[in-house]
Symmetry: C2
Amino acid sequence: MSVTIQSLPDIPVIMPGDDLAAHIINAAGGAGLALQNSDVLVIASKIVSRSEGRFASLHDVTPSPQAAELAATTGKDARLVEYVLRESESVSRAGPNVLVTRHRLGFVSANAGIDQSNVGQGGDVVLLLPVDPDASAERLRAALKARTGVDVGIVISDTHGRPFRVGNVGVAIGVAGLPAVIDLRGTTDLFGRVMQVSTLGYADLVASAAHLVCGEGSEGRPVTLVRGLEFPAQDGRASDLIRTAVHDLYR
Amino acid sequence: MSVTIQSLPDIPVIMPGDDLAAHIINAAGGAGLALQNSDVLVIASKIVSRSEGRFASLHDVTPSPQAAELAATTGKDARLVEYVLRESESVSRAGPNVLVTRHRLGFVSANAGIDQSNVGQGGDVVLLLPVDPDASAERLRAALKARTGVDVGIVISDTHGRPFRVGNVGVAIGVAGLPAVIDLRGTTDLFGRVMQVSTLGYADLVASAAHLVCGEGSEGRPVTLVRGLEFPAQDGRASDLIRTAVHDLYR
């Protein structure tokens, strides 16, 4: 098996209401990479958010007392903290320059995934994550299928830090048309022993692989084509990747 | 940029003292994939351990009182737990079927990375991680350079769970000839804003990408060739990826 990973060139800066499927088809075609069945497209969450108009102005919000308190603890803008709280279920950790929460979508991350870079509207506008990235992924998949006849997988990716390791990695926050988690339990190893506990965070692996060609320093390459993957025919969801609090094994 | 990921075929079951460099050169040549400068080879830690003879017999160990207590808590074999403790700095969490520790190498993982599958010696023998995987990676890199003249990067990979996410991913526990962490701080985004905090866990991304073709279910494919990566000329170490306790942001 040989897998190739390449970023699609010439995706423009996406604006609210833009047709992502059209941009992707154009970019893939322009690069001589007509989409094929079983291709997986990894889409930076930022352009999904932009297409969905998920901008929020710091001028439009009044921080709650909790936001003001956390702003003092973290040294962050209280209005940004207010948006973080609105996007979160609970605060996991706050400290100087650190605000980690459990997002309403279930994952644990810094600043609720709210992006202040590359928003390009004077510094007072931030970008929230898509409302429902799994649904966004499914819509994009359906749009691409309708226009090309091709059945691709979609991973909407974000960049997360890790509790115990240095450096960010790619994670899947939206998935359609491929497994999010692959369960290997019950398969046998080389010597015939049944594997007891083994699952792969498959869509996270795909998101991390895409970061090798479209890392955070390469903001102009938000769509990555991954070709040649072999995966079971499962239509997973990024929510499959969420470990709920009761199962948090490392705390 | 286009990156290709492929597993090398026909790597035999590795035994203590085996010459990994020779096996890799043979396998790459047999597949028509002569090594090139800037190729990165991702090596499953298991075959490094096997080549280094890191087998341990459950018959050779007497569990300490702490091991016996943790065995009762976790339901695991007290002799296995004894090896886990010998390989660990501290216990992070213990519960039914769960034993998470900070490994002597610095990372936090389940069962100190000790492998009971695929050891193939009757079930009473386990396989410990390499003594010093960064050094193993550097030795392998030097051996390949000496015999082929080619300068490759080496990632020795393992499979870790995550505290807040379902499914295992690939991580780097040994690195040579490529950056382990890439620091993007100080670079500017599309709109000219300087990025404040941004580092990539680069060698972990590479390890996870390799898992797409050599996942845990594919024990016969322990060497993966990653070609086409563009990375800064840094000779990183997996220890760069360790977040020390004082910086654990999520606890």
